[in-house]
C-alpha cells in the first residue's frame, strides 16, 4: 500500500512538474508542449486511459477553455443569465475534453516543427507550425492562436488547421443549433450533456 502511495505521489509530482515546465515565450511554449504531447501520445507503453488523462491535464492547464466556450456561444453570451452561462461552461468543458481526447488518443507519430510566429497584439501571438505525418501523408499547416495577456501564462485559444479555425467551426455549429431552437441556451447545454453521456 505504501509503495502504491509513493508511486502515485511521484506520478502526480512528475505530471505536475512536467506541466509547469514549458516556456512562456509563445513560440517555444507551443514547440515544447506539442513535442512532449507527441512523444506521450506515440508512446506504446501508455494505455488509452493514461493518454486521455495526459490530454485532459494539458488541456485544462494550457487551453483557455472558458474563453473558447464564451467565443463559441457568440452574441448569446451577452444576453444569457449568469446561471445559464455557468451551466453552459461546465457542459462545454466536459464536451471539449471528451471531444479532444477522442480525437487524439488514436494519434500516430508525426514530426512537428515550429516555423515562426506573428505577434498580432499584446494579447495575441499566432505561432505557425507544420506537422509531417510519419506515414508519408501530406504536410499539415497548423497555426496556434496564443493568448498572451498574462505573459507568464500563455494559453491556447484556437487551432487553425490548413486555414480552418476549429473555434470558428465550433461557433458556427453551435450557432446553427441555437438558431433552430429560438436561441435557447438550455437546449444547447442539453445537447452538450447528451454528447458527454454517450
Amino acid at each position: 500500500m505504501k509503495k502504491i502511495c509513493i508511486f502515485s505521489f511521484s506520478l502526480l509530482l512528475f505530471s505536475y512538474s512536467s506541466l509547469l515546465a514549458y516556456s512562456t515565450v509563445p513560440k517555444d511554449f507551443v514547440n515544447e508542449l506539442v513535442s512532449e504531447a507527441i512523444s506521450k501520445l506515440a508512446d506504446k507503453n501508455l494505455n488509452k486511459d493514461q493518454k486521455s488523462a495526459f490530454i485532459e491535464n494539458v488541456a485544462l492547464e494550457y487551453v483557455d477553455i472558458n474563453a473558447l466556450g464564451l467565443y463559441t456561444l457568440g452574441e448569446l453570451r451577452k444576453s444569457s443569465s449568469e446561471d445559464d452561462i455557468s451551466n453552459y461552461q461546465n457542459a462545454f468543458e466536459k464536451y471539449f475534453l471528451k471531444s479532444l481526447t477522442s480525437r487524439l488518443t488514436d494519434y500516430s507519430s508525426s514530426k512537428f516543427e515550429v516555423l515562426g510566429y506573428d505577434k498580432k497584439s499584446a494579447n495575441y501571438t499566432i505561432v505557425n507550425s507544420i506537422v509531417t505525418p510519419s506515414d508519408g501523408g501530406p504536410k499539415i499547416k497548423i497555426d496556434w492562436r496564443i493568448y498572451t495577456k498574462n505573459s507568464d501564462r500563455p494559453l491556447i485559444r484556437d487551432l487553425i488547421v490548413e486555414g480552418l479555425s476549429l473555434a470558428r467551426t465550433q461557433k458556427e455549429e453551435f450557432s446553427s443549433i441555437l438558431n433552430s431552437n429560438n436561441n435557447n441556451i438550455k437546449i444547447l447545454i442539453n445537447k452538450l450533456n447528451e454528447f458527454v453521456k454517450n
Binding site: 499566432i126 479555425s165 455549429e173
Partner: protein, 249 residues
C-alpha cells in the same frame, strides 16, 4: 449512363434554378432552402456510407505509389482548369506555375503520374470559376447542398457549370471538341472526376470520421468548413481572421 445524364442534364438545371431564385445579396451563412439541403445532406451521407467510404477505404489499402500516382494524375488534369482561371484573375505568376507544372508533369512526369514540377519549385494553386467570381468581388450568395457533389453556394454552383465551359479537359471530353489533336469522351471526364472524389475522400478519411464522431450537428460543421475553405482559396491565403477582439477578459 444514367449517372452521366444526371450530372450533364439534371444537375445543371437544378443549379440554374437555384441561382435564379436566390437573392444575389444573400450571405453565405444564410441558407437557400435549409430543409431541402438537410434532406440532400442525409442522402449524400447515405451515399457516402454505402458507396464512397467503402471505395475510399479500399483505395487507402493500395500501395503508396498507386495512390500517389492517381493523386498526381488527377491533380495534373485539374491544373488545366486553373490556367484560364488564373489568367481571368490577372494572376500571371500563377498562370506560369500552372502551365509550367502541367507541361512538365505531362511530359517528364509521364502523363502526370509523377510530379517532377513540384521538385523544381512549380506550385500551381487550384482555381475555378467560383473562385474567379469571388476574386472579382461576387459574394457567395446563399448556402446549399448539391446531390452527390456536397456543400456549395449559389456562386459556386453557378461556377461549377461555368467550369465545364472554361476547362480545356471538359472541352475535349464532355463538349466533344478537339484540342491540339487530343480528344476524349464523357467516360474519361467522369472517370477522372470520380477518381478525384475517391482520392479526396480517402485522403480525408480520418478527418471525416473525427468530425462525424465529434459534431453535435455535422451539417453545420461541414458548412463552416466548406465556407472557410472557399474564403481561403479566394484570398489564396490562410490568414487568420481576428474575431476574438471582444474576448480579452
Amino acid at each position: 449512363m444514367k449517372a452521366i445524364k444526371f450530372f450533364k442534364v439534371i444537375l445543371p438545371i437544378f443549379i440554374i434554378l437555384i441561382v435564379c431564385f436566390t437573392s444575389p445579396n444573400a450571405k453565405a451563412t444564410e441558407e437557400c432552402f435549409e430543409r431541402v439541403s438537410r434532406s440532400i445532406f442525409k442522402f449524400n451521407m447515405a451515399f457516402d456510407r454505402t458507396v464512397l467510404r467503402p471505395i475510399a477505404k479500399g483505395y487507402n489499402k493500395l500501395p503508396d505509389p498507386v495512390k500517389n500516382g492517381t493523386s498526381n494524375f488527377t491533380s495534373n488534369i485539374a491544373t488545366l482548369l486553373s490556367i484560364p482561371n488564373s489568367l481571368l484573375q490577372g494572376n500571371i505568376k500563377q498562370v506560369g506555375h500552372s502551365t509550367g507544372s502541367f507541361l512538365v508533369n505531362t511530359t517528364v512526369g509521364i502523363f502526370g503520374v509523377l510530379n517532377p514540377a513540384e521538385k523544381i519549385g512549380l506550385k500551381p494553386l487550384k482555381e475555378d470559376v467560383g473562385q474567379t467570381l469571388g476574386a472579382y468581388g461576387v459574394g457567395p450568395g446563399c448556402y446549399l447542398v448539391l446531390p452527390i457533389l456536397g456543400p456549395s453556394t449559389a456562386r459556386d454552383s453557378f461556377g461549377l457549370i461555368a467550369d465545364t465551359f472554361v476547362d480545356p479537359f471538359a472541352h475535349i471530353t464532355i463538349r466533344d471538341h478537339e484540342l491540339f489533336g487530343v480528344s476524349g469522351n464523357e467516360i474519361d471526364y467522369f472517370s477522372v472526376k470520380g477518381a478525384t472524389a475517391v482520392d479526396f475522400r480517402a485522403d480525408n478519411d480520418q478527418n471525416f470520421e473525427s468530425l462525424e464522431k465529434n459534431s453535435l450537428d455535422l451539417y453545420s460543421s461541414l458548412k463552416s468548413v466548406y465556407l472557410q475553405d472557399r474564403e481561403n482559396k479566394i484570398k489564396n491565403s490562410i490568414e487568420d481572421q481576428d474575431e476574438w477582439g471582444s474576448l480579452d477578459n
